[in-house]
């Protein structure tokens, strides 16, 4: 889920740009300390919060998250300059990739049904008659809801002819597919990491921008500055996320200090072939369906909420896994950095020793902006090994299923069913498949955590439509995947 039109997203990106510029500018700790003051100098406008001091305090928290630290663990006394020093000496990124900024959280009132002033106290009183729980009574001539009886079913919301009854939304809780967001005793959002599948939907949904990724941008910049050999692995969804072609992007990466870049689509070719083989074997042995396994958010869902479907999930590794294995084999002493569309892949990176760091598109964009690299003026650098058309199409909904189908070679046998985004309904659908050991809609279930696929990831920079169009133009020139 993405929403790049929002000012909250713009603000988060600006923080990353300023942070990268602070790092590159010389006196990093001092420059980092001044970011909130540079963004809200003395006497400046206060666009969002109650006063300039709160604006700066929240900007400080955003910078801390941008440096890769959890706001939950912040004591509020530590200076940004001190955090900057710590970010330089850190050996590896912290474990949980998400953090909630308590100061930025609105503390939305809990989800409930609310009668607004628009209630006319009408004679029909359908709200009262439709309520199965007897929660609505008439007080002073208007409808009133007894919170203790109300079950949030929204029947009254739907029948009111004046649309006077509303459900008060809590965007982060509403979009979380697994109920991992709760309120702390102060009424502020907190993530229950035992339940969280790191899908990043809350990150995109919060209108106050209170959920942040803990960025690994400084870690990568620091390694590049040290002159380490750093290899970038580019997710298939990257075509269309930056101006210019993937070949120009590779040149831009080399200018910014990376030694080489690989397309993860190479790994996607291996994933598709292995899944095609597995699919054929499983169907031959009598299993009625198989789900794909490449989405990192889905992997977290399997571990934490859906163990019963695991026997039906492909045991093939992800495209990133195979690409990292290859890059590591060919560059034993280099650092491997995956560049992808979502926060869930940070989780996969933390769990795979072949991957040192993960940057998302916003973070890579910030790095380019701070280094003043114009991708459009870069010449093309070809990739050492060409991936298939199908491998390049892994990043949008339907692309994985099409690749497995092409690799399996028997299209009449494979019926794809696309789970286009994980939400409460599609999770129910998957649970039902596991319980009934069958899926009426198809036999190869492609699961994408984000709507639209990886191009709909929380850090995607382009619209779904444009991103898919550009990927298709790019992949059209590539060779077909080899069949089994």
């Amino acid at each position: 889920m993405r929403n790049s039109n929002s000012q909250a997203v713009h603000l988060k990106k600006e923080i990353l740009v300023r942070l990268a510029a602070a790092f590159l500018g010389g006196d990093y700790p001092q420059a980092a300390r001044l970011i909130p003051y540079d963004m809200r100098p003395k006497g400046s406008e206060v666009p969002f919060r109650c006063c300039i001091h709160k604006e700066r305090a929240i900007l400080k928290d955003r910078v801390i998250a941008g440096m890769g630290f959890a706001i939950e663990a912040d004591d509020e006394k530590t200076l940004l300059s001190e955090y900057a020093e710590r970010s330089l000496s850190r050996k590896r990124p912290e474990d949980q990739p998400l953090t909630v900024l308590g100061a930025a959280c609105r503390g939305c009132v809990p989800n409930r049904i609310y009668v607004t002033d628009l209630c006319q106290g009408c004679v029909a009183r359908e709200c009262q008659s439709v309520c199965k729980f007897g929660a609505i009574s008439i007080v002073n001539g208007k409808s009133a809801i007894d919170g203790a009886k109300c079950k949030n079913c929204k029947m009254c919301v739907n029948v009111c002819p004046y649309k006077a009854i509303v459900r008060i939304a809590v965007p982060c809780e509403d979009c979380c597919p697994v109920g991992a967001i709760t309120k702390n005793p102060q009424g502020l959002a907190q993530i229950n990491f035992a339940k969280c599948i790191v899908c990043g939907k809350c990150l995109a949904a919060c209108p106050f921008g209170a959920v942040h990724e803990k960025s690994q941008l400084i870690d990568v910049l620091n390694q590049l500055k040290r002159g380490q050999r750093v290899i970038a692995l580019l997710a298939p969804s990257i075509a269309g996320q930056f101006p210019g072609s993937p070949g120009q992007l590779k040149t831009a990466l080399q200018i910014s200090g990376f030694s080489d870049a690989y397309e993860v689509a190479l790994g996607a070719d291996i994933t598709a072939s292995n899944e095609a083989r597995e699919f054929t074997e499983r169907l031959d042995s009598g299993q009625s369906f198989m789900t794909t396994s490449c989405c990192a958010g889905y992997q977290e869902l399997l571990k934490k909420h859906l163990p019963e479907i695991v026997p039906f999930v492909s045991s093939t590794r992800t495209p990133l896994y195979y690409a990292a294995e290859k890059a590591r084999r060919e560059n034993p002493v280099a650092l491997i950095v995956f560049i992808g569309p979502c926060v869930a892949k940070k989780m996969e990176g933390l769990g795979n020793p072949a991957i040192d760091y993960v940057l998302n598109y916003e973070e890579l964009g910030a790095l380019f902006i701070a280094q003043k690299i114009e991708i459009l003026s870069c010449p093309e650098t070809p990739f050492a090994q060409e991936s298939s058309r199908q491998g390049k199409n892994f990043g949008f909904c339907g692309g994985v299923a099409a690749a497995v189908s092409a690799a399996a070679g028997r299209p009449e046998r494979l019926k794809p069913c696309l789970i286009d985004g994980l939400n409460k309904d599609t999770i129910k659908q998957l649970k039902k498949m596991a319980a009934e050991r069958t899926c009426p809609e198809g036999n190869l279930i492609e699961v994408m955590c984000c709507e639209g696929g990886c191009i709909g990831g929380n850090a995607a920079l382009n619209t779904l439509k444009l991103a898919k169009k550009i990927i298709l133009e790019y992949s059209d020139r590539a060779p077909e995947i080899k069949g089994l």
Partner: protein, 85 residues
């Protein structure tokens, strides 16, 4: 009459800060404007500076629009076309 030129900055900063989606402008342009307006991408307009605060930029005629959105661009185009008449 020459067409009103709309140039969408495709520099790295503008693209990353939200200019990417401005490329949907041609299809959002009302049919009656199509003969009067020419839309193109252009290399960095050199307006962004280090902080990228006000990107993306779009040049409409001789006027520079900052923090551009499809809606803001369409409003400015209408204003320019009405003024020209």
């Amino acid at each position: 009459m020459s067409k009103l030129a709309v140039k969408i900055c495709l520099g790295t900063t503008c693209f990353v800060m939200g200019g990417s989606e401005l490329q949907e402008l041609p299809e959002k342009l009302p049919a009656s404007y199509k003969k009067l307006v020419s839309i193109s991408g252009c290399p960095c307009l050199g307006q962004c500076g280090a902080a990228a605060t006000r990107a993306p930029y779009v040049l409409i005629g001789d006027e520079l629009l900052s923090e551009a959105s499809i809606e803001k661009i369409l409003k400015k185009i209408t204003e320019k076309l009405n003024h020209a008449q």
